[in-house]
């Protein structure tokens, strides 16, 4: 018999059969051999594989400690000298999914071995980590375990045997990697074929698949503007003139809270833009062309709007990662809600 591949499997407190939400703060621990769904993986992977250990961590513990926890988990995994790491599957679990994704991404990055997990397409972990590890598409609940385990196991086998894999052939979310392949026809021929098929109403497959952005249900409209508290938000890179908080000109990692208490206008002596994606000359001459503080103050003075928050939330929308943009949005939303803001005017460059 040849080499037995060693596997470390990561699961949460629920799939380890330790408990539900009341045990979600469980710190990480390791058990020898397979646990819970690991038994099914062991069966599907067969004798050439050995689940050496199962790493278990509570959903909340992982989600709360996140980045600071990962180095210790990676060292623990490393001590088992695995050839591959399997996590989950997490189906549509909103903490378990990102936790599995974060761990798998760290494993591939730090240990240089493949890591495979499984999630439902709407799990937030998919968009966060699909580029950094293999995420097999699953159903949205543990009912899908019976299909997820064979699909994940098949991908693990192929990866370790060095066989070619593809999103369409193996059922994982596309990782956004471009690979050179040889085809019979040139791009011009393929494009004409596609166009002819489209005109004739025949099915065709585009070679460029666009990202499918999730939609959010619209918030209810403002009922009475004269009583509404407004706030101003921007991704135009607005900062104080000294940029004292060092907002980035691109790939922002933060947002600022700029105090505009008592100001009727954004004066160019105090404010400007550090955005690296457009010519800021006009903005630095008159920052109100980025964020219309002067106009909104006028509305409030006329009594047409109820009030204006004394803080502008500002970041730089220039090559900013989707992940950071979503985090800024969620954090700004929480701050606005805490300050009873009713509506927001967001200006984008």
């Amino acid at each position: 018999m040849g080499k037995r591949y060693r596997v470390v499997h990561f699961i949460n407190q629920f799939f380890a059969q330790i408990g539900g939400e009341e045990k979600a703060d469980l710190p990480p621990s390791t058990a020898a051999g397979p646990v819970g769904p690991g038994l099914a993986f062991q069966a599907a992977l067969g004798d050439a594989f050995e689940i050496a250990a199962t790493l278990i961590c509570g959903d909340n513990y992982f989600a709360t400690h996140g980045e600071s926890l990962l180095p210790a988990l990676i060292e623990e995994i490393r001590s088992y000298a695995p050839d591959v790491v399997i996590a989950g599957p997490a189906f549509n679990a909103g903490r378990y999914g990102p936790n599995c994704g974060a761990l798998c991404a760290a494993v591939q990055r730090e240990l240089g071995i493949p890591a495979v997990t499984g999630m439902y397409c709407e799990n937030p972990g998919v968009d966060l980590y699909r580029r950094d590890c293999y995420i097999i598409e699953t159903q949205n609940s543990a009912v899908g375990m019976r299909r997820a385990v064979p699909a994940m196991s098949a991908l693990v086998k192929k990866l370790l045997r060095g066989q070619a894999v593809s999103p369409a052939g193996d059922g994982y979310f596309a990782k956004g990697i471009k690979r050179n392949v040889f085809v019979e026809k040139t791009g011009a021929d393929r494009a004409i074929d596609m166009l002819l098929a489209k005109l004739a109403g025949r099915p065709y497959q585009s070679e460029l698949v666009f990202p499918d952005f999730e939609r959010v249900p619209p918030a209810p409209p403002v009922r009475d503007l004269t009583r509404a508290r407004l706030a101003l938000v921007t991704d135009a890179g607005l900062t104080d003139r000294q940029n004292s908080a060092r907002l980035e000109s691109a790939r922002a990692t933060k947002f600022l809270e700029l105090n505009i208490g008592g100001m009727d206008t954004l004066s160019p002596e105090r404010f400007g833009s550090v955005h690296g994606g457009f010519d800021t000359t006009a903005a630095n001459r008159n920052p109100n062309v980025l964020v219309p503080l002067d106009l909104v103050r006028g509305l409030v003075r006329q009594g047409r709007a109820g009030g204006l928050l004394d803080t502008i939330y500002s970041t730089t929308g220039n090559g900013t990662s989707l992940k950071n943009a979503q985090r800024f949005g969620a954090e700004i939303a929480a701050k606005l809600r805490a300050q009873q803001v009713d509506a927001v005017i967001l200006t984008s460059t």
Binding site: V216, L299, V344, I345, T347
Partner: protein, 77 residues
């Protein structure tokens, strides 16, 4: 992305931006067309009174978007 997260939290939010297809594809719910990328709510090349009128018209559209009940996606140009 910012617009969506604020709307997700239940805060009606209008995004004033120039490249409408980006906001539309990304899934913003309330969108108003801006003047230009470097000055979304300004037109420094216009005479002051014309710039004032243009800026006010954009703000009015923004207020209209905030007060409109949106089913799928609202774009005001």
């Amino acid at each position: 992305m910012l617009e969506k997260e604020l709307e997700r939290a239940g805060i009606p939010t209008v995004q004033i931006c120039t490249i409408l297809p980006i906001a539309q594809t990304a899934g913003a719910n309330r969108i108003v067309k801006a003047v230009a990328i470097p000055h979304p709510v300004g037109a420094p090349e216009l005479p002051p009174d014309e710039e004032r009128a243009l800026r006010s018209s954009i703000l009015e559209k923004a207020l209209q978007a905030l007060q409109t009940s949106v089913e799928t996606q609202l774009t005001i140009e």
